[in-house]
Each structure stands twice: as structure tokens, then as C-alpha cells.
């Protein structure tokens, strides 16, 4: 697992951590039943508080990416194709949203944005 955190980013650390674990699960670097480092080990390695790591692991568990076996550790959950797909789709949607935001901030109208997307799609 290779995690790279940006301390100066406005994105909270635990979210950065979640995103990177998720993408490792989605792209297959982390496989089902692979164990994640312990909370304190990862915290020590990344030099962040253990609570931050715990928060990221808890959220990942809520979203079904990992399972924590009490007293044993945290493991990558059985990959649910639909779930991973959904996560991928969600992240693409987010990218679109960012692009649209940027477009609007420089004054593109809705129609102009549709036109741009149309042009891009014609290339395919």
C-alpha cells in the first residue's frame, strides 16, 4: 500500500487516505482479504494521528470496502463489482462536476458546456 498525503491540501487527511485506499482496492492493487496495516502502524508510518487513520478505516468499513475483525485487524472486503463500479462512476461524476464548476467560473453558459461535451464525444 502506497499512501501519499498532502498536508497542505484543503481536503481533510482522512478523506485523502480513504480515497487512496479505495483506488487501490478498485484498481486491484489491494485484493480481497488482504490485510491493511494496523491503525497505529499506519499512523506512525504516515506521521499522522491514530484517530485520523481510525476514522478513515471506519468510513471505509461503512462504505463496505473493508472489514474490521475485532482484535485481529482490518481486511479488504469481498469486492462487490457493483459497488466498485458505483464508486468509479461516482468519482467520474465528481470530475465532471469540477470541470463544470471551472467552466462556469470563467463564464461558459450551460449551452456552451453542452456544446463542448458534444464536440468531445464526436471524436469517439
Amino acid at each position: 500500500m502506497q499512501i501519499l498525503l498532502n498536508n497542505n491540501s484543503m481536503v481533510p487527511i482522512y478523506e485523502q487516505l480513504m480515497d487512496q485506499v479505495k483506488s487501490e482496492i478498485i484498481n486491484g492493487t489491494l485484493k480481497e482479504n488482504d490485510s491493511l496495516p494496523s491503525v497505529r502502524a499506519l499512523a506512525g508510518e504516515l506521521r499522522i494521528s491514530a484517530l485520523t487513520v481510525k476514522k478513515a478505516y471506519d468510513r471505509l468499513e461503512e462504505e463496505g470496502f473493508v472489514v474490521t475483525v475485532h482484535g485481529k485487524g482490518t481486511y479488504v472486503a469481498a469486492t462487490d463489482r457493483q459497488l466498485t463500479m458505483e464508486a468509479r462512476r461516482k468519482s467520474v461524476e465528481d470530475d465532471f462536476a469540477v470541470a463544470v464548476d471551472r467552466a462556469r467560473s470563467v463564464g461558459f453558459s450551460k449551452d456552451e458546456i453542452r456544446e463542448i461535451i458534444g464536440i468531445i464525444l464526436e471524436d469517439y
Binding site: N7, G44, S49
Partner: protein
Amino acid sequence: MVKIEKLVKAYGDFRLDLSMEIKDGTVTGIVGKNGAGKSTVIRAILGLIRPDSGQITINGKELSRLSEAEKARVGAALSDSGFSSYLRVEDIVCILRKMYPVFDERFFRSQCTSLRLPFDRKIKELSAGMRAKLRVLVAISHRAGLLILDEPTAGLDAEARNDILDLLRQVMIDNDRCSILLTSHISSDLEGLCDEIYLLHDGKIVLHEDTDILLSNYAVLKVREENYETLDKRYLLSTKKESYGYLCFTNEKQFYAENYPGLVMEKGKIDDLILMM
């Protein structure tokens, strides 16, 4: 693990008055300027001073009721006190072996070697950095369930500070249940280690927050004079006048980021807040 309820201790003009808690298995940090009362809190927890009023319990027991075995489960490092400086590191190994029911001599010796602490030299002949490392090493080498460290990194260069913080990270990994309380006047030392941070000023707690939230929700805003008047001041914790306008500290970064897109905003560093006190 440790509960401090309405602790009061006065020294002349200075008055310490606070309640706080070190939760089981967490790392808690106290930051504050010199003279804010950090050492007084540590000394009260360790029973070195008698509070004027209030109660301190460790695992639900009052300090004076702790048995020797229970006291052996606490490891302490003080900033200005340690074993006699006429003793050698080797002497300390022998003393600790007899002092604690479990003393991890292998760990102690291997850490001394990797930190380059010479066994046959008197403590007074060691550099300040080495002495600081030795103090922390003494505290962590008997598998304590609670570590209390007063300014373990004070007065040290970046490398020595890092060595000490890494030592503590190692303890956290090796001993999963261990709770730690440490103080510093440099909050960046604590940000990468502590789960919770208390900010102490003039003997009182002015801020208590999860480090995580502190780093993600808190920010410093730099506001020009002309924009300051229209700024929604509901979520400002403190404000300081500067040459260009105002320096404001907020715990609702998102609110200002969304509503005032042009605002200059820096990630909330606790050091900034200390400076604003």
C-alpha cells in the same frame, strides 16, 4: 485512563484551573506558551505537587492510593529532571532492572545503540539531545500503560526531535493499549502524533479538539480592512489586528471557503493560534 476534575493550583499571580481527560489508548497533547501551566498539570498528575483543590484519578484510583505495581505501569519523563547526572547509562540499566518488575533490557540496549548513547559515559557528559533521548527511553522501556512526558522535544534540533517522536510512534505500535500524554510549546510536534490536543493559556484550557478536526476544519483567514466589516463573524474564534487588516482564526473553514471565495485562507496550524493568544 487519567481524569482531572476541577484541578486548581495557584502560585502567586498564576492560577491553574482546568478539567481534562486522557482516554484509554489515545495520545493526548497539551500545547501552550512557556508559563501556560503545562508542567504544573504534569506535576499534579504525577503527584509531585499537591493541588489546592480538585481530583486526579488514574484508572479510577486516586494517586496516593496507587500501589507500587500500579505506579510501575506509569512511565514519566520530565524536562528538567532525571537520574543523577553523575551516573552512567550502564548504571541506569542496572537500576531500572531492579526498579521495575518488567524492564525490557533488550529494547533499552538496542535503542541506546541505535541512538548512539554511550553506555560507559556519565549523563552529564552527554549532549542535550542525548540526555533528552535517554529520559524518554527510560520512560518507555518498562512497558508502561501510561506515558507522561513533559516537553520531551524542548530545546532540540529538528533531527533529535524527530528521533524522539519516532521513538514514541514505535511505542504506540509495539504497545497497542498504551496511552500517552505529552506537552510541547511547538504544536507541529504534536500534530503528527496526538489524537487530541488541548491548548493551554494562562492556566486555562482555551481549546480542546481532535487533531483531525483541528487540521481539517480550522483555518487562519487573512482579511483586508474593507472586507472585514462584511465578514460573517459567527465562526471566528479570535481576531487580531494586522497592518493589512485582520488575522482571524476559525473552526468552520468550509463556511468561509464557500461564502467568501476570494478570501486568503491558510490551513489551521495550532502554532498560529498560540501566537494569537
